[in-house]
Structures are given as structure tokens and as C-alpha cells.
């Protein structure tokens, strides 16, 4: 479409300037924080002159070189951020695997059944999807204290799986709608049961949809703050509540740089994720839209 039209140079200039501005607005905060994480606090939060952060005046004075790994050392070694990283890895892997298993089965059933209750299930899932996570947390806390399951990783994992289900169901439901019905129905005519048809015919062709949904499940578990902050005990904390707790106890000079370093460390995996899965993320974002 674009090639067939002639555009005025002014319009091109304006739209290019807008895009350039947006790119700067989107990327600059990340670059700035990455750069600043290798400085000392007096430079990154400079009272006198913001250019100190560029020149590293105080970093030079305090450590002898323009860059320092002190923030990272403090966060990872002294404050044991690695423990939180391990916990996050366990939580994220379990949440993704379990929600995809439940979600593919449920999403497939919703896509293949035309009865009225499937509509109601999807609508209820939509309402569940819209509920703020913290409202549910206030329902969990008291029973979890009573049953003594508060604070453990499996509790947080199963809660995140459940919170994730409505979204996973919707997304996989629309992916399965795109797989032609004839495929599994012909397998059933050949004598397969419904589950065998699913196992041998649908599973081999469903991976693009499952990977895309998996990415979003990953993001939900990785980015969660409300559930993990309220349901995990101190030693089981994942990265995001851990970073929040750095802020609570950062009265000591230099400790805020631990938080900066931890923030950069936690952003790095997301950066890599976009690098490798940009296409899937984009298709996932639009999948819901196309289906309406």
C-alpha cells in the first residue's frame, strides 16, 4: 500500500521525527540505567551536576577507575540476589510448564465444543482475567496461614498457574480455532478416540501457538509482584519482591546502587527474550485482536 502513494516531504519528516522521538523515549531510560549501574551513588544520583554520571567523577575518586562493579557485587554476593534468581527460575519454569499443560487441554476443548456453556466459560474467564491479582491475594492469605502453606514456592506456583489460566485459555482457544476441524475429525473417523486424535494429530501442529502462549505465561510469572510479594517468605523471595525489599532498607549510602544493579540484572533476560522471540511476541499481541 505504501509504495503506491506519493507522500509530501513534510509529512515524511514529521512522521520520521515522531518515530525517532519515540525510539529515544523508549530506549534511553534503559541505556541510562545500564550505564549508571556501573557508577557509584554519588555519580548516578548527582547533587551537583548530572554530567558527573557521564564523567564518573566520584567513581574515579572512590574506586580508581571510571566503571565499578560494586553495585553488582553488593547485590549478588552481599545481599544474595542469586538466591532470588534461583527461586525465580524455579517458579517461572514450573508455572509455564503447568499452565501450558492445563491450557492446551482446556483451550482445545473450548475450541471444539459448540455448546452454550463454552461461551459462558470464556466470559467468566474474561472477568477473571480482568480482576486485579491483589484482590485474590487478600482471599488467599488467611486460609494459607491456617493451613500452614504460606511462604513456600509450590504455593506461589499453583496460585500463579491459576491466575494465568484465563489468559492461557483465551489465547490457546483462538489458536486452536485456526487449526482446521477436519484434521482431528478425520482421525476420529479412522477410529481414534478424542484424546488420541488430540495427542497424535493436534499436538504435532500446535507448537507455534503454544510457544507464543508460553512466552506470555513466562512474562506473567516473571513480572509478578503482587502474588510473590505477599505469598512468599523472606528466604523464598523471587527477584521482583527482593528488589522492592532493597528499597525498603537502603538508608545506607551506596545501597540504592544494589537495587540499580539488581534491576539491570533482572531486565537482561527480558532483553534476550525480545531478541529471540520478537516475532512470536508480536503475533501473540495481535492474536486476540484478530479474533475479536
Amino acid at each position: 500500500m505504501a509504495a503506491t502513494q506519493r507522500r509530501s516531504p513534510l509529512l515524511i519528516a514529521v512522521s520520521t521525527a515522531l518515530v525517532l522521538l519515540w525510539v529515544v523515549v523508549a530506549a534511553f531510560p534503559f541505556l541510562w540505567t545500564l550505564w549508571g549501574s556501573f557508577k557509584v551513588q554519588a555519580d548516578f544520583f548527582s547533587l551537583a551536576d548530572w554530567r558527573n554520571a557521564l564523567r564518573g567523577t566520584f567513581t574515579m575518586a572512590q574506586t580508581g577507575s571510571a566503571f565499578t562493579g560494586k553495585g553488582y557485587e553488593g547485590a549478588w554476593v552481599q545481599e544474595e540476589f542469586w538466591r532470588a534468581v534461583m527461586n525465580t527460575m524455579i517458579v517461572v519454569v514450573c508455572v509455564v510448564v503447568i499452565s501450558l499443560t492445563f491450557g492446551t487441554l482446556g483451550g482445545y476443548a473450548l475450541a471444539r465444543s459448540g455448546f452454550r456453556y463454552t461461551f459462558w466459560l470464556l466470559m467468566i474467564a474474561l472477568v477473571f482475567r480482568a480482576m486485579p491479582h491483589i484482590t485474590l491475594v487478600s482471599g488467599y492469605l488467611m486460609p494459607f496461614f491456617q493451613w500452614n502453606v504460606w511462604g513456600h514456592l509450590p504455593t506461589a506456583i499453583i496460585v500463579l498457574v491459576a491466575i494465568n489460566q484465563p489468559f492461557t485459555l483465551w489465547m490457546l482457544h483462538s489458536f486452536f480455532l485456526n487449526i482446521p476441524k477436519d484434521l482431528d475429525e478425520s482421525a476420529m473417523i479412522d477410529g481414534c478416540t478424542r484424546f488420541q486424535a488430540f495427542r497424535h494429530v493436534i499436538v504435532p501442529v500446535m507448537w507455534p501457538g503454544v510457544i507464543t502462549t508460553g512466552l506470555f505465561s513466562f512474562l506473567l510469572a516473571y513480572n509478578d509482584f503482587a502474588v510473590t510479594a505477599m505469598l512468599l517468605s523472606q528466604q523464598n523471595q523471587t527477584m521482583i519482591p527482593k528488589i522492592a525489599s532493597f528499597l525498603g532498607s537502603t538508608q545506607v549510602e551506596g545501597n540504592v546502587m544494589f537495587a540499580v544493579a539488581a534491576v539491570v540484572s533482572a531486565t537482561a533476560p527480558l532483553f534476550v527474550l525480545i531478541l529471540f522471540f520478537q516475532r512470536q511476541i508480536v503475533s501473540g499481541l495481535t492474536a486476540g485482536a484478530v479474533k475479536g
Binding site: Q5, F45, F145, L275, V282, G288
Partner: protein, 342 residues
Amino acid sequence: MKHRTFFWFILPSLIAMILFIALPVGSVFVQSLHVEHEQVLRTVENCGPFGCTEETVIDRAATEELRAAQPLGRFAGLSNYTDRNHLAFSELGVMWERSDSFADFTRRAMTLPFWRAMAFTLTFTFVVTPLVLLLGLAIALGVNALPRAFRGPTIFVSLLPMIVTPLIGSLILFWMVDSRGVLGAALQTLMNDPNLSLKASPTLTWIMLMVYGVWSSAPFAFIVFYAGLQTVPEEPLEAAMIDGASRWQRIRYVVIPHLMPLAVFITLMQLMDNFRVFEPIVGFQAQANATSLSYNIFNYLRGDAAQFGAAATTSMLTILGVVVLLTPVLMRTWRDFNRKGH
């Protein structure tokens, strides 16, 4: 698909949702009807050399015992809903009588925790959502006009603010707008006011939070609109050109109607996500000037003396808000579903 097969397929997912979404909502409702036990008081007589005095002390053992026996607290009916921390009807009534203008009334009502949070949540939702739509559309049109080679990298960079953990994204911006951070210092120079601090003023805090909201959600609208622009049908565009439509008219009468369903989709998603605004308030440490419904719940639950009753009541009112917000969508989908003839 047979009912039986459907049931077995959906079962794991259904159990998870019933146990951890539906039942907690029930639990929240029950909790919202209770308040914590008051401390058990006991009168003791202290007799010393100068006679006896009566003293009221807290009986810790009895309090603990009572709390352990009835963890829910004592039944309070709907009083949680009408107390000062929630709907506060009687307080509002008094304020209405005492205030001389509507502005004065609003100012007074902003001291009530629930209405304060509601005001911010609704303002945030209904300011950020349209701005996200507009900015997303503008970027999508801009990127669509770029040479193909630049589009991929632009999308890559654009995804960052959206993908990044909300708490991390707000911390990154917070450190920059700190009065000692780079943007804060730049603003001070621009405004020529060395004491300017975004944290100190309620208005500036609200604006800052909404800027964060737009920054983190615009990429979503951009990506969806951009994908929509790739599928604009050629024929109506050419027909419009032959009929002498200007560029603006082509956008107005061909492209925008094509993007309309996408705009509805983005609005729906944005309304849901913005209504639960929570992490930015923690990240920007803005609770002194702005609280949201989600933040209030978090605040009630935090700390040693968690107020389950108050948290549950705010949760119920929030869920009610979500349902009201979604009603038009649900009704529309219901009509569509019926029209399809099931």
C-alpha cells in the same frame, strides 16, 4: 464434542480456576463481613502501700486465644462497607453539609481512603487509555511510513517498555526523575527552580504516574495497530484515490474504519489493565500523593497487623468496579454470540 469428553479436557484448568479464583472470591466476601477481634481487656486491682487502684490492662493470652479460635474475627455484617475507610456515606453526608462549594467538598472527600484511591484509579484509567490509543496509532502510522529495514529495530526497541516488569520500569523512570537524577535535574534547569521535586506535589505525582502508564502501554497499541495497517485492503484505497479522495480522507474513511475493531480490543485490554494500577505506586513511592484501589488492598495486608476485613472489603468493591467496567463488553459479546445462532 461430547459433554463427557469436554468435561475431562477442561477439568484440570477448571479445578485450578475454581480453587484459586472462584473460592478466594468467596473467601474475600466472607472476610469482608468480619472485623478483627478487639483486644480483650481485663480490670485488675493493684494494691500497694498506698491503697488499691483499679487498672485496665490488655489480656494478651485471652486475645491470642480468641483470635486463634475465630481467625475470621467477629461478624460485622455490612458495617465494613459503610465505615470511614470504604464507602463512608455518613462522613460524606456531613462533608456535603459543611462544605460551601463543590470544590471544597471534593477536597474534603479526598481525605477518605477509599474515595481517594477511587479518584486516582478512575482518572488514571480514563486518561491513560485514550492517550495510549492516540500515541500508539501515531507511532504505527509513522513506522509504517519508514523504509522496511528500519521497522524491525524500531519494533524491538518499542517492545522494551511494555515487556519490562512494571515495578522495574517504574523504578527506572523514578530514579531518572528523582531530583538528583538526570531528568529531574533537567526539569529543574528548564523550569529554573532548583527546588522542584516531582515527588513533593500531588499534581506532578499524578502526571508522572500517568506518563509512566502511557510509556509502558503505548507499545501494545502500536503493535496491534501496526499489524492492522499491514492488512488494510488495497482495493477501497485505490477506489478512493480514483474518486479523488485526499490522503486525510483516505485515512478517515478507509483506514480508520478498518482499524476500528482493533481500537475496541485495545480499549478493552487497557481498561482492564489500567484499572488495576498498582506497581507504579510502589515503584514511584507515590503513596503520599496517589493511591489506587489495588494499592489500598496491598497496604491493608502488609505488615504485622494485617487488616483482613478492610482488605477484603476493598477487594469486593474493586471486583464490583471491574464487573461494571466490563458490562458493556459482556453484553455486546452476548448479542454477537446469539446473532451467530447458537
